[in-house]
């Protein structure tokens, strides 16, 4: 299953080697959840981050609940905080 991942902050380092910019199309197994994508990319799933699926934020409590679909767009961003 192919999805598009967009990253922000230091999460850009999680994208596959050779990626230009902050967005990559990646293959993930069927049934992968938004949190599973972070795990798939080698990220710290216990860390703090914001996930946005197809333009809508995924509540932290639902990150590992629903599997993604082919063609979904997932953003992995730093957590919201004061700046």
């Amino acid at each position: 299953m192919k999805i598009t991942v967009k990253t922000g902050g230091l999460f850009t380092r999680l994208l596959p080697e050779g990626t230009r910019g902050n967005t990559a199309d990646i293959d993930v197994p069927g049934g992968t959840t938004p949190l599973g994508v972070v795990r798939h990319l080698g990220g710290d799933v216990d860390g703090r981050f914001l996930l946005v699926l197809n333009g809508k934020a995924v509540p932290p409590s639902e990150r590992d609940a629903n599997p993604l679909g082919d063609g979904d767009h997932l953003s992995v961003m730093p957590p919201l905080k004061g700046g």
């Binding site: 902050g9 710290d44 333009g55 932290p60 919201l80 004061g82």
Partner: protein
């Protein structure tokens, strides 16, 4: 002990400067910096006084950890009644000035009255002089600092000054120290200017002692370690606070074109990646990062402008490395006014530092002017011939300079969005709370942020509460009142320590503050005592505002946030649910239904 045990009271009307003992009972009850400064303000002025009159009091307050070995211990706060809000103003700053004030032997500087002629204070330990500022009146922050160091032949002097914006009583003028760090919000620089006080120069040679050095250094080592290992700290160091712009864009909470929407098409031209990108001509915006006193985060940006950019092509004096974009400047000069020209944003940032005014309020006021212009309410006849269209980099750079110098329409912008929009008969276009413009978070997308904005004692502000976890979990107003209230109290205490709030997102647990304070001071400090102190501070600020004439009716948001649903983003279709959250918040605070502090609450907190 970490306190020097004395404050400096300056009366500019009488031309006197006298030390007096620090009121230790107040330091015990209100800790320091924000809390202690609030108590001194409350006890030394009538809250009904004219914010720009001689009866206003201007306070520079350090915290018990300011100037110590604790991480980020360079903070101090500037307090007064704010001319932008007519409420209490409390803005804190980093850099090195706060620690230097402590090294000179003063925990707090209190300035009363008004000098007939422009003056500056020159403090060298016990020697305090009130000197003529005639040679530097009418000049910038940058010139003032250079002149003072040259005049006194001491490059180690630390300077806090008000710039031309403060002299001209721009309602959102800052106090800027160390060239690029500012007590930025609510117009504290205008109060300094109204007193004809151009600058405070300070040189201190004393150390700061702590109560239990061995235990203190153990806590310092542990807190340094926590910062060093934390991922958010690493992000702040490498990318600065502007890393937030991509997150806010994706979430759909980035105020764009005066809160018309929450996503900005030009974000990728002004984000950290754009700042670090080397262009075809070899120019890169970012030069390096920079730290304040005692800080191992170093979130500050140092940048420079492409020499071929229109803003400086004939201005060689700006071909220098200076303060670069942080999240709030990027938001205020970018999405808020629809501009995606990185060099134009950087130039506008230079203007705010050089002339001494708040970028957030400037961006919010310019955005309101752009909406007035695009709706035909004002024309080029009002705006010195400049077309104030959203997206115009020329409008941004020209108006940034005009506010600084007070020229033409810049003087109108200097009124702030509330007074400016009232002047043109359209108050609904001004996006503010209590007169102060919003930071870069839309209160419809983040409900807890909206409640925090509405109830903030200094007007719209993103730094006095932290409800981000709850806002990411649930886009409704459910369950937001308690974390808003609790975080307000928590942050009021942190703001009173002398440390930077940013450590909270960079590895500090709340207990770290308590450990440092407990070893720093003679009396025992715990997390519970910090929270109780924070609640006391919050309520004293509220009491000041109520005495100044504000009421519960001021705890509100613009109609745009309450009635116009978002058309995109995570919270598409939402308005802010303040009407539901506010009564719950008042009840948790122990206030009446109309926002008055009850006698029981006053008694419980020792007010």
């Amino acid at each position: 002990m970490a306190w020097q045990g004395q404050i400096l009271r300056v009366n500019l009307t009488r031309g006197t400067a006298e030390p007096e003992p620090l009121n230790m009972a107040w330091a015990e009850a209100y800790m320091g910096e924000r809390g202690l400064g609030t108590k001194y303000l409350w006890e030394n002025m009538d809250p009904k006084a004219d914010a720009l009159g001689p009866e206003n009091v201007l306070i520079f307050a350090t915290g018990p950890l300011t100037g110590t070995m604790a991480p980020t211990s360079g903070r101090y706060a500037v307090l007064c009644k704010g001319p932008l809000t007519n409420a209490i103003a409390c803005s804190n700053s980093g850099g090195k000035f706060g620690a230097e004030l402590k090294f000179a032997g003063y925990d707090l500087l209190l300035v009363e009255g008004r000098s007939e002629q422009p003056v500056y204070l020159n403090i060298v330990d016990d020697k305090v002089e009130i000197l003529s500022a005639a040679p530097i009146w009418g000049t910038s922050v940058w010139h003032t600092e250079d002149w003072i160091k040259e005049h006194h032949r001491d490059p180690l002097i630390k300077v806090a000054s008000c710039g031309e914006a403060g002299e001209q009583l721009v309602r959102f003028a800052c106090v800027v120290n160390d060239l690029h760090r500012a007590a930025g919000r609510s117009g504290v620089g205008a109060v300094m200017g109204s007193k004809n006080l151009k600058a405070v120069a300070v040189r201190g040679t004393r150390g700061v002692n702590v109560a239990d050095p061995a235990r203190f250094m153990e806590a310092v080592r542990d807190t340094h370690k926590a910062l060093a290992e934390n991922e958010s700290r690493k992000e702040l160091t490498e990318l600065g606070t502007n890393a937030m712009i991509d997150a806010m864009q994706e979430f759909g909470g980035l105020p764009t074109r005066n809160f018309e929407t929450v996503k900005f098409e030009g974000t990728e031209k002004i984000n950290p990646a754009a700042m670090w990108e080397t262009r075809a001509n070899g120019h890169r915006n970012m030069v390096t990062n920079k730290a304040c006193f005692g800080c191992t985060i170093a979130c500050g940006r140092v940048a420079h402008i492409d020499e071929t950019h229109f803003s400086i092509v004939n201005r060689p004096e700006y071909r220098v490395a200076s303060g670069g974009l942080e999240y709030e400047t990027a938001f205020a000069f970018g999405p808020m006014v629809g501009v995606d020209d990185l060099d134009a944003l950087t130039f506008a940032g230079y203007m705010t530092n050089e002339h001494g005014y708040d970028p957030i309020s400037f961006g919010g006021t310019l955005a309101a002017a752009m909406e007035l212009f695009e709706k035909g309410i004002i024309t080029e006849a009002d705006t010195d011939g400049i077309a104030l269209n959203f997206g115009s980099a020329e409008a941004l750079t020209v108006m940034a300079e005009k506010v600084g110098t007070g020229e033409g329409f810049g003087a109108i912008l200097g009124m702030g969005s509330r007074l400016m929009c009232e002047k043109y008969g359209h108050p609904e276009i001004a996006m503010h709370v209590k007169g102060q413009e919003f930071a870069g978070y839309d209160g419809r997308a983040l409900q807890g942020m909206g409640l925090g904005y509405a109830t903030s004692n200094r007007g719209a502000c993103h730094l006095k509460h932290a409800v981000f976890e709850e806002d990411m979990e649930d886009i409704s107003g459910n369950g937001k009142a308690k974390p808003c209230k609790d975080s307000q109290d928590r942050i009021a205490a942190v703001d009173s320590t002398g440390l930077c709030l940013f450590v909270m997102d960079a590895g500090f647990e709340y207990g770290h503050f308590a450990r440092l304070l407990d070893a720093d001071l003679e009396t025992e400090w715990s997390e519970d005592r910090m929270l109780e102190t924070g609640e006391r501070i919050w309520n004293l600020e509220r009491r000041f505002n109520l005495a100044a004439g504000l009421t519960g009716a001021d705890d509100t948001l613009p109609k745009r946030l309450l009635e116009v649903p978002l058309r995109e983003g995570s919270a598409e279709g939402k308005v802010n649910e303040l009407g539901r959250m506010l009564p719950e918040y008042y009840a948790l605070r122990g206030w009446t239904e109309d926002g008055q502090i009850t006698n029981d609450t006053m008694e419980r907190l020792g007010l």
